[in-house]
């Protein structure tokens, strides 16, 4: 069977960063991907090819024509037949690696279901397109001590930050306590988005996820910012805030009292 042939992951196993033991760990890992559009598609494809054990993908949307320039899991016929993204994704991922268990959840990530959507996962990758979801993700991940990796991309720029509760690192709200006012943040719908920028940001998020899964998280936590078009890359180290409303003071307002 191709799906578990020893050759399959040879070029990853050769890396001292992964190795045969690391590959085994990946194969026993479960990852939740919140959003299965641009970032989520790249993340899912990379993780499926890397041979993670289980991928749970959450997205309520259907495939549309204007998704195709950046959402690599989807084909023209998916847009034509207006299929659910999670269904098209599961089909594609099964072709990429039939050894990976893909669980589909055609729902919007929401406070009521957040804890059950996280059940049994080792890490969460943010591929959502709004801050309501990200601040909710931060709450549920801090509460359940689950690592997660924030990522966002719009225009030619993107940002990445890992949140590692077990290591007492800073969380999203240590950096910016309150989400932006709805409607004030540019999105792919209002500003457009460069497909190459998506690939860079999703790839960085996935690398961080692999490092966390392999027990080798980065020593310094911070906010990484890239403008892919300008080739400018920035890293800002971030400290934990002892008075953070979430990880410092233990308030979970986005989980407990969703707006």
């Amino acid at each position: 069977m191709i799906s578990n042939s020893p050759d399959r992951y040879a070029r990853h196993e050769m890396l001292h960063e992964i190795g045969a033991a690391g590959q085994r760990k990946l194969s026993q890992s479960s990852v939740l991907i919140v959003g299965c559009g641009a970032l989520g598609g790249f993340q899912a494809e990379l993780l499926a090819r890397a041979g993670v054990g289980r991928l749970r993908i959450v997205d309520p949307d259907i495939v549309e024509l204007h998704n195709l320039h950046r959402q690599i899991l989807y084909m023209e016929n998916d847009a034509e037949s207006k299929v659910l993204k999670v269904e098209a994704a599961a089909k594609r991922l099964a072709q990429v690696n039939s050894g990976v268990v893909v669980e589909t959840r055609p729902v919007r990530f929401n406070a009521q279901d957040a804890q059950s959507l996280l059940a049994g996962v080792d890490i969460v990758l943010d591929a959502s397109d709004n801050f309501e979801t990200r601040y909710l993700l931060n709450d549920v991940c801090i509460k359940s001590q689950t690592p997660w990796v924030y990522g966002g991309v719009v225009g030619t720029s993107g940002m990445v930050m890992p949140v590692l509760p077990g290591l007492r690192g800073p969380c999203l709200r240590c950096v910016i306590p309150a989400p932006p006012e709805p409607g004030t943040v540019p999105t792919a719908d209002t500003l457009g988005v460069l497909n190459c920028a998506v690939a860079v940001i999703a790839s960085l998020q996935t690398t961080l996820a692999m490092r966390v899964l392999l027990g080798n998280p980065p020593a310094e936590i911070g906010l990484f910012h890239a403008n892919v078009w300008n080739m400018s890359f920035d890293f800002l180290k971030v400290q934990r805030n002892d008075l953070c409303p979430c990880c410092g003071l233990g308030g979970f307002e986005f989980l407990d009292a969703p707006v």
Partner: protein, 66 residues
Amino acid sequence: MKISINGKDTDYSGTPVLGELLRSLGIDPERVAVERNRGIVSRAEMQSLRLVAGDELEIIRFVGGG
């Protein structure tokens, strides 16, 4: 005194305090982070940090789309 905000020099009289400066620009300090001279300003200092001439500030917001 001159303070650079997102790459633009702005003149201020006196020695402004970060939280007030942000609010004067219509920015809620709770909804942004600030980079000052290449380092991120800690949340504890966001309101009361007194700025000095030549400070370079970048107002940071999370990038949205996914």
